[in-house]
Amino acid sequence: MKSLKYIAFIILTALAASCDKANQSTTPNSSGGFDNNPGTGQGGSLARFTIAQKHLYVVDDMKLHAYSLDNPSTPRLTSTQLIGEDIETIYSYKDKLFIGSQNAMYVYSISDAGHPDKLGTASHVRACDPVVANDSVAYVTVRSGNSCGGTLNAMFVYDVTSVLNPKERNVINLETPWGLGMAGNRLFVCQGSNGLAVYDISNRYYPSLRQRFYDDTYYDVIPYNDLLICMVKGGMLLYELKSDGQILKLAKISG
């Protein structure tokens, strides 16, 4: 139970990041990027590269490398530091970095962008656990597997109104959850070979299943303006995100 709370905490941090991205994705600036980080685009939830505060941050399996992009054609290494073991992902949100490993989340301040400074660590159950969230709710999928460890396959819903005290509000059992994404009152949950599930999250703590697609093997999603971009086995699927919340398949990019 305690570990779940830790997960929730992690989530909130991650969510803050993804929520900000989602909000901003509706208002791209003239350069095609976003106000927070002009000139950049948007990656999936499992990225090891991220750009923030005119710096490129890279995590490999143990270290965080920071490069100044003051001159974007010639990145200049400003620092390298040891983080921990089995590092998998990095998120940025405003002046913070959230670094995910298989059993912990590390939070770094980038107030001094070239020299990230450790703020804290939250331990969690050993598993693959992508997250999305906004100011009030966080959704975390926990998937067990040979390379991830753990035995859970579920989506946890947390009330993160109080960031320091997230509360578990709901647990939905899923077969094989992978990446997820949120746009407006819709939540998209990739479920590997078990397809894609679309939830209505008007009641944010009680997602209600609205659409289910079994046509492909889904791994990750990026909601981007009026598009939903899905990473699927062997390529990508593009969906139109309609104003009524339905998604409509536009094209498959494969082969």
Partner: protein
């Protein structure tokens, strides 16, 4: 004379020991600590030739075979071809996406973009590509040996994996897939 015979014997003994240790006929395999599962999710090596591994260039569009991480900026969508490079796709018309080019970068797993510059990994080097013309990308900078992103010997996570077959080339990455009766295991 007697002394000489003794010394020959002493030389032969360790040789015999060596032979048994090598087990050249593979008729005495070491027992696995855990039986190999019939079917399991695990990593398999991605191969490339040595010549191919060195160059970074735009090439003609090619099929997506082992699609990896995705990235979007404006009307352009990118998907890593695990260990091989990056597909560049115009999605201005979402119903009719058009592949524009393929950026050949061996070992590629990750990417990010700032302005006209694409950052990716060429095995364990950070490389900067000017992508103003996606059909004629230019390598503009390289920071060598910075990361530990690609391990040519072991997969990125513990567990069962598909053993490396050196006859297939050099290992430039790892992909997750369903393995059947895998033999190799990273602890």
């Amino acid at each position: 004379m007697k002394k000489r015979i003794l010394s020959v014997r002493w030389a032969v003994l360790p040789l015999l020991l060596l032979l048994t240790a090598c087990d050249p006929f593979r008729n005495n395999p070491r027992p696995e600590p855990e039986p190999s599962p019939d079917e399991v999710e695990g990593y398999a090596p991605v191969y490339s030739s040595a010549e191919d591994a060195a160059k970074i260039t735009s090439t003609d569009v090619r099929p997506i075979e082992k699609g990896g991480k995705i990235y979007v900026k404006g009307n352009m969508l990118y998907q890593v071809e695990v260990g091989k490079g990056i597909h560049v796709i115009n999605i201005n018309d979402g119903a009719n996406p058009q592949k524009l080019s393929f950026i050949h970068v061996t070992g590629a797993q990750e990417m990010s973009i700032m302005d006209n510059y694409l950052y990716t990994n060429h095995m364990n080097d950070l490389v900067v590509l000017n992508i103003a013309d996606v059909n004629n990308i230019q390598l503009v900078d390289r920071v060598s040996g910075m990361f530990h992103l690609v391990d040519p010997n072991l997969p990125p996570a513990a567990g069962w994996f598909e053993c490396i077959d050196e006859s297939k080339g050099v290992v430039v990455g790892w992909e997750l897939k369903t393995l059947y009766k895998p033999v190799c295991r990273k602890n």
